[in-house]
């Protein structure tokens, strides 16, 4: 009887530990291999430790450029989304509009559609307007495709800011835009950060969009170069590839930790937060 009880107490810990290990092992391989002189495909603690894979990465102008382009695409589209979605969400939160509910539902509906499904016509659109291979246009497309979700999140955040604060600003003679910038925006910091972090992470990890819309090798962001590196060198340079993957993952990890508190708020407010 006592043994049975001990098992029931221990069982959840055992199951959770196994799940934890399963989640950690593939990543642990990446960490070890990136410091291992003789990295192989199997997980192994480095017998000969090296920083070479890392230094090679940071001295390779092609890889540094790929990271810079990735930052341009991600930061650019995040900023566009924050500004544009705040402007669009504001009247949806504050104004008395007749068809507000259906507009909000339409936005939610659009946010659910798989953007992969429209990539073929988007490619045609880009070819037609000679936007093919343009980083600016790619950045704007990435912003636009995440916009419905951004507006939805932003609206929920604005809803949580009491309108009385703005009204007193209006009485003091501030315009709606000034009220938005000076009163709502500071109170919405968590919301703004959540939207920023979500879009940055989503764009940073996005492979399909730049893979289709960008052709020049010297314009590709890190998400695509890493794939090509993998394809060209096969799995020969395991160590370097592991280091490349690791460095590419770091910004997302940092953002996650920085934004964790904001994100959990966003999770509660958004109600339906996407990954």
């Amino acid at each position: 009887m006592r043994i049975k009880k001990q098992i029931t107490v221990a069982l959840p810990y055992i199951i959770l530990s196994i799940i934890g290990i399963m989640f950690f092992m593939p990543l642990l391989w990446m960490i070890f291999a990136s410091f291992d002189v003789n990295a192989t495909l199997a997980i192994e603690f480095p017998k000969e430790f090296t920083f070479d894979h890392w230094t090679q990465l940071f001295t390779d102008p092609d890889i540094l450029r790929a990271f810079a382009i990735g930052i341009f695409l991600s930061l650019g589209s995040s900023i566009v989304i924050v500004v544009v979605s705040a402007l669009a969400a504001y009247p949806l939160s504050r104004f008395h509009l007749k068809h507000k509910d259906s507009i909000i539902l339409s936005i939610l509906f659009l946010s659910g559609l798989p953007m992969a499904a429209i990539m073929v016509p988007v490619y045609q659109l880009f070819v037609f307007f000679n936007l093919n291979d343009s980083l600016w246009a790619t950045m704007l497309f990435m912003a636009a495709s995440a916009l419905p979700y951004g507006i939805w999140l932003m609206k929920n955040f604005i809803d949580s800011v009491p309108i009385t604060l703005e009204e007193s600003a209006w009485i003091d003679g501030a315009s709606v835009l000034v009220g938005l910038r000076k009163v709502v925006a500071p109170l919405m910091k968590p919301g703004i950060f959540t939207v920023l972090i979500f879009t940055f992470t989503g764009t940073w990890g996005n492979f399909f969009v730049p893979f289709i819309l960008i052709q020049s090798v010297d314009k590709l962001p890190a998400s695509v170069t890493i794939f090509q590196f993998f394809g060209q060198h096969g799995m020969v340079f395991y160590g370097q590839l592991a280091a490349f993957s690791f460095v590419y993952t770091i910004p997302v990890i940092i953002l996650y930790f920085v934004g964790q508190n904001y994100m959990s708020q966003g999770f509660g407010l958004g109600g339906a937060t996407k990954g």
Partner: protein, 294 residues
């Protein structure tokens, strides 16, 4: 004067505020959706005669699609992928972790939670890469099985769909974990306490109280995750390339092959229309469930 008229019409002002968003979405989202529907009925191609003179071909693309064995394979694979990884896999793992974590020591909980989350925040290309290594002939998994005296297995070649499903569960389970943690926290403690006092064992409490109480959240979550999984491309593309052959080709990969490898944009667009329609149905379902949950 202009200020006054603006104040009178909230619609005009709302339109003004929303105009950047409306313009961006019209060009890059609504426009392409309309194009998807129109181009599905044409023979538009990247090269050859059809690249210059696009003509309307009626339902030809769809007739061709329903005769194409690769289309049937990719539909089948897509359904297996959605059911296996989104509808069942991620839900079960996410719920299991959230449920088992309840009431456990804080450091242990944070450690497990962090590891599951690590799989979620890792970009899909890196996910594909680390799992390619893990599952390869002389990768970690075969090394471990070797200790147990088992022969190495070429996982990605012999079990491509199972591998892809498993990897996607690994990548996405954290989202379900967070959702179920929130749903489980919403169950009032008194309800569980009362059941305990009434003599219900933990199994009964799970089936009779916990699961029924989170049913609404679970259904909504299932639709949402299925919707997100429908568009998965990079993970499968980098891990198996849809192969061997077409054994792990889902609709997005099939669409890519036809449009960008075989240059059949019209046909590729018709395939995206199928993908889009599936997305539309799921998205409508999602909104419905979300509304009924409130």
């Amino acid at each position: 004067m202009a200020q006054k008229t603006l104040n009178k019409s909230p619609y005009l002002k709302a339109l003004l505020f929303g105009s950047p968003a409306i313009i961006l979405m019209l060009i890059f989202v609504i426009g392409p959706i309309v194009m998807t529907i129109l181009f599905s009925f044409t023979d538009i191609a990247l090269t050859g005669a059809a690249a210059k003179d696009v003509s309307f071909v009626g339902f030809d693309n769809f007739v061709r699609m329903f005769k194409d064995p690769n289309f049937k394979t990719s539909i089948f694979n897509t359904i297996i992928f959605l059911v296996g990884s989104a509808l069942i896999g991620q839900q079960v793992v996410g719920f299991l972790v959230a449920f088992l974590m309840k009431g456990k020591a804080k450091p242990f909980r944070s450690a497990v939670g962090l590891l599951v989350l690590a799989g979620w925040i890792t970009p899909e290309i890196v996910v594909a890469f680390v799992w390619f290594a893990f599952l390869s002939d002389d990768g970690t998994l075969n090394t471990i099985l070797g200790f147990a005296g088992m022969e190495p297995v070429a996982w990605l070649l012999n079990f491509p769909m199972i591998s892809v499903i498993f990897v996607n569960i690994w990548h996405g389970a954290a989202f379900c974990m967070l959702m179920y943690q929130a749903a489980l926290d919403d169950i009032p403690e008194e309800v569980e306490e009362a059941a305990k006092i009434d003599g219900a064992n933990s199994w009964q409490r799970l089936w009779r109280i916990t699961l029924p109480m989170i049913k609404g959240a679970a259904v909504t979550n299932m639709v949402l995750v299925t919707l997100q999984t429908l568009g998965v491309f990079g993970l499968i593309f980098a891990l198996t390339g849809g192969g061997p052959g077409t054994k792990s080709t889902t609709l997005p990969l099939f669409m890519y092959d036809e449009a960008f490898v075989n240059y059949q944009l019209g046909y590729g667009t018709a395939i995206s229309l199928v993908l889009l329609l599936m997305g539309i149905v799921l998205s409508l379902l999602y909104i419905r469930f979300l509304k009924s949950e409130d």
